[in-house]
């Protein structure tokens, strides 16, 4: 197998750039160099001009580069040489990029002063370069988060256009990408800044960023700010609660978790656009799947506990300030979780098998935690941890290290959905909903699968799609974000993302369509009775 393993060394497609692409690279790197210079402290005279030049240069370069890459070829799947290229095949460029992004995240989260953030005074360096844009939008000077948000949005827009061009034969992919581009630009970037301009007391709120992804949404300072900002603030607070309790389950029931993860979410948006070149790097092994389930659900339990503890810590003994007293809140959380758990155990027990036990464990943990809060804590402590300590730990480990440094920094090594798959508590909740009560599934087309493996290879969530397709089973998996790439890369038209009735959604077959009708009935009856 040696020659096959080293195929990228032996041959491969032409690696050279076309002339136009060389110019695009020149333009892009020069524009990026402006940002680098600013980061190293160069104080540009006319910041508005240089910022515009830099950002539009980067945007233009990516668009130009992709246009030349795809314009000469007929429309269709564009995966030639993916594993031969250094950047998408874990080569030198992949490692270099990974280290660069990781370094950026470390500085961003933990040493923003190196980017030019000045606590009491005008910004310097990179952050000051972004001041004009920030002032234009919100009226305030830029922060490290504004710089990050701008670059993030720019990445989604630039690579989103590349993606749309790459998949110009596929309307599902185009619409989905336009959707994430819109939600990032409008909801995450522009609207919160404008809201800050209109009403300075409102907390920064990306309305599509739902708890528990937005794990700090119900912290005291935010809740206070919401309440103090009158009807609008109150409306936003209620929207935040309704989002997770009503809107989310409803939309997931109708469309699967894709409505959020690959159509709306900002993390998903970056993964689907800038991260598209890395989707094949996800680990498909059974081992990775086991790790995924334990880790992501543990994060979910952690975030529920943490949030409950944080809210509990600032609620009063009576209802004078927050409508809820400490004990009412705890009982409410307990009743809600018990209700969900009871529903699952009564109506969905058969669908869960071993998984139910894990779910029960997680649930038990939460309940015990709640009781512990009630009996062993004063207003600031849960067991011996302070709720503030819990919050800080979560914010550091999950909010910063997992979602940013590892989740995005390691795109070129572990694939583009490491955070979504192993770390995102929102994805975990939506996944449970999708697995237990959703009309969404990926339908397998009769007996047409040839087990080629394109679907599994290009599944960014590491789902072994082929394992289902080759036994004629629909794919109903908690982790599936519905990006639709498996269906796109399938050379035989086997996979289709669909919403339909819950009955018959999960349907393994022993013998596939095309064979003797009697044999199919016989074998598939047996397999049904086993399942």
């Amino acid at each position: 197998m040696n020659t096959l393993d080293s195929m990228s060394l032996a041959g491969g497609p032409p690696k050279g750039l076309k002339n136009g692409q060389k110019f695009a690279v020149f333009l892009g790197l020069s524009s990026f160099f402006i940002v680098v210079l600013a980061a190293f402290g160069l104080n540009f005279p006319n910041k508005g001009f240089w910022l515009t030049a830099s950002l539009s240069g980067i945007l233009g370069a990516v668009i130009w580069f992709s246009w030349i890459a795809y314009r000469d070829d007929p429309k269709g799947i564009k995966n030639h040489g993916v594993w031969f290229k250094s950047i998408s095949g874990r080569g030198l460029w992949a490692w270099a990029l990974g280290i660069l992004i990781t370094g950026f995240y470390i500085v961003l989260y933990f040493y923003p002063e190196y980017l030019g953030l000045v606590k009491d005074g005008p910004n310097r360096g990179l952050i000051s370069l972004f001041d004009p844009l920030s002032r234009a939008l919100s009226g305030n000077p830029a922060s490290q988060w504004f710089v990050y948000g701008t670059l993030y949005t720019l990445a989604i827009l630039a690579f989103g256009i590349k993606f749309i061009w790459k998949y110009r034969h596929n309307r599902y992919q185009q619409l989905r990408t336009m959707s994430v581009m819109f939600f990032q630009t409008a909801f995450a970037f522009i609207i919160p800044e404008i809201m800050a301009r209109l009403n300075g007391d409102l907390p920064y709120y990306d309305l599509k960023n739902i708890w528990p992804l937005n794990y700090y949404n119900f912290e005291r300072y935010r809740v206070n700010a919401f309440i103090d900002s009158g009807d609008i603030g109150l409306g936003m607070l209620i929207f935040g609660i309704v989002s997770i309790l009503v809107i989310t389950p409803l939309l997931t029931y109708f469309y699967g978790k894709r409505w959020y993860c690959s159509w709306v979410c900002g993390c998903g948006g970056l993964a689907e656009t800038a991260g598209d070149a890395f989707r094949q790097l996800s680990d498909k092994s059974t081992f990775a799947w086991k790790v995924e389930r334990w880790v992501v659900h543990s994060v979910l339990v952690f975030v529920v506990l943490m949030t409950t503890a944080v809210i509990y810590s600032y609620l009063g003994p009576d209802t004078s300030k927050y409508w809820l007293s400490k004990s009412q809140f705890l009982i409410g959380v307990g009743v809600l979780l018990t209700g969900v758990f009871a529903w699952v155990m009564v109506y969905r027990r058969s669908a869960l098998k071993k998984d139910a036990i894990y779910g029960a464990c997680g649930y038990l943990l939460i309940i015990l935690g709640l009781l512990a809060i009630h009996f062993f804590s004063d207003s600031r402590h849960v067991f011996v941890f302070s709720s503030e300590g819990l919050r800080k730990t979560y914010s550091f480990l999950i909010g910063s290290v997992f979602s940013g440094v590892i989740g995005t920094g390691f795109y070129p090594i572990f694939g583009n959905r490491v955070w979504c798959r192993f770390g995102c508590p929102m994805a975990a909740i939506l996944g449970l909903q999708q697995r237990l009560f959703s009309r969404f599934r990926i339908t397998t087309n009769g007996g047409q699968c040839i087990s080629c493996g394109n679907c599994s290879t290009y599944c960014e969530m590491g789902i072994d799609v082929r394992a289902y397709a080759q036994k004629g089973a629909n794919i109903v998996r908690a982790s599936c974000v519905g990006c639709g790439i498996c269906s796109a890369v399938c050379p035989r038209g086997v996979l289709k993302l669909e919403n339909g009735p819950l009955k018959g959604r999960i349907n393994p077959h022993e013998v596939l369509l095309g064979n003797d009708v009697n044999l199919m009935e016989l074998a598939n009856q047996n397999s049904d009775s086993v399942a």
Binding site: W83, R171, I450, S451, G484
Partner: protein
């Protein structure tokens, strides 16, 4: 009971998996080609860089031990059916109680002068792919490739080589690509698409001779038109034939392939043959006696497992179906749609093609009863289950055409063309009346 399966392709592996599900027999799978089962149909994607070899393995390596399926890497030299023993190339022997021959195919070579030169190869096995990687790593070391034989493997090889920018001349014997199978309109559309991918497509052209350089490697081909085409690689893709040479002298009856009855039994008790290498003594319906298709191999594997595990079962495939991809155009077929050069006199065809895009469809139906015989689609995905049911229920073309939307399997938000198709059908029918 010791069951030995020669060949770890889709047929042999499907048989092994189903035997394991149904029984506790000992199962040994022997392969000279690879340690583990991989998807042969995915070989092209390794060369094109879409996947690595390990991605083409449908099961993790631990699967086989867990399911007690023993894998053995060896070449079988001969079969002694008297003593129920296999003799391997190494000289060692393996005893069996039941033997399943699932050795697949090998590329056809029709005695062309120069066909055994270096840098002349087919594309079937993992070893063929390794050879191709050496023979045609890039456009510097392979300045032109000539492909001989206009079938599914030929066009795949063309796509592979084009992915590395290697110039390709494609010699096709027929007057239009694959028109023994495809109706004229479809075949013509694929001709266009092949040329759009900058393949030098030569229709109506045969290979006469392959010329050698001093080192015994191909340097050019001569066509039957007398033209010489310089090249560094000759791909022979004029179909495949059963890979059964090792059976000579074993007493197992063969013709093109291993002759089997409907229960997939050979003339020798306890010896079965499935997949590409099996030949039905009497062809089933309109099917060929030798069916070298992924799906039929799988179906035979499903069937033979039953027979071996004590519930004898005939190989009784349902409605024919198949699929392929020609560069960027997906193709699906259900039931029987005759090709341009082999049209059934009882069959009438309705053909629709999109005016600009590479989308088309052909519906074939019986001239008098108007019962649906089959559907071909290009660039439109169809739902297997729905069409299978239509064929079973003997729906007429007039019932089917207005309901084509029910069978559409394209991704969500795709443009649908059923209305246009139905309108075209009606207007054509009016003209006929």
């Amino acid at each position: 009971m010791q069951i030995v399966i020669i060949g770890n392709g889709i047929s042999g592996i499907t048989a092994a998996r189903h035997i394991r599900k149904l029984s506790d027999h000992q199962i040994t799978v022997i392969s000279a080609e690879s340690d583990y089962f991989f998807s042969r149909t995915a070989l092209m994607y390794i060369y094109m860089g879409h996947m690595k070899y390990q991605h083409t393995k449908p099961y993790e390596d631990s699967f086989w031990k867990k399911n007690r399926i023993e894998l053995k890497r060896a070449r079988v030299r001969s079969v002694d059916t008297e003593t129920k023993t296999l003799i391997l190339d190494s000289g060692s022997q393996i005893a069996y109680d039941k033997l399943i021959i699932a050795t697949g195919s090998q590329p056809n070579r029709f005695g062309w002068p120069g066909q055994d030169l270096k840098r002349v190869q087919g594309l079937y096995s993992l070893q063929d792919l390794e050879a191709l990687e050496k023979n045609a790593p890039d456009s510097h070391r392979c300045k032109r490739a000539v492909i001989v034989g206009g079938g599914l493997i030929g066009i795949e090889l063309a796509e592979m080589l084009r992915s590395r920018n290697i110039p390709v001349t494609f010699l096709v014997r027929e007057t239009s690509f694959w028109n023994g199978v495809l109706p004229q309109g479809e075949s013509a559309m694929i001709n266009e698409h092949i040329r759009e991918h900058h393949v030098d497509l030569r229709l109506n052209t045969n290979l006469k001779e392959i010329l050698s350089d001093d080192a015994g490697a191909a340097r050019a081909v001569i066509t039957d038109g007398g033209e010489q085409i310089d090249c560094d690689l000759v791909g022979l893709t004029a179909g495949v034939r059963p890979n059964i040479d090792f059976l000579s002298g074993s007493g197992v009856q063969t013709d093109k392939g291993v002759l089997v009855d409907r229960q997939l039994r050979t003339n020798i008790p306890d010896v079965f043959a499935i997949g590409d290498c099996a030949q039905q003594r009497t062809p089933i319906g309109k099917r060929r006696a030798v069916e070298a298709v992924w799906y039929t191999g799988r179906m035979m594997g499903e069937t033979v497992a039953r027979t071996i595990c004590g519930a004898p079962m005939e190989y009784n495939p349902g409605h024919w179906f198949n699929s392929a991809k020609f560069f960027d155009i997906e193709y699906q077929t259900y039931g029987w749609v005759s090709g341009a050069s082999s049209k059934d006199p009882q069959e009438r065809q309705f053909h629709w093609r999109h005016p600009e895009q590479y989308l088309c469809l052909t519906i074939s139906y019986h001239k008098e009863s108007r019962v649906l015989l089959g559907i071909n689609t290009f660039g439109i995905r169809m739902r297997h289950e729905v069409i299978d049911q239509w064929l079973t229920e003997n729906r007429t073309v007039d019932q089917v055409v207005p309901r084509l939307g029910e069978a559409n399997f394209d991704p969500e938000w795709y443009r649908h063309y059923e209305t246009e198709i139905a309108q075209t059908f009606t207007s054509k029918a009016e003209k006929v009346v």
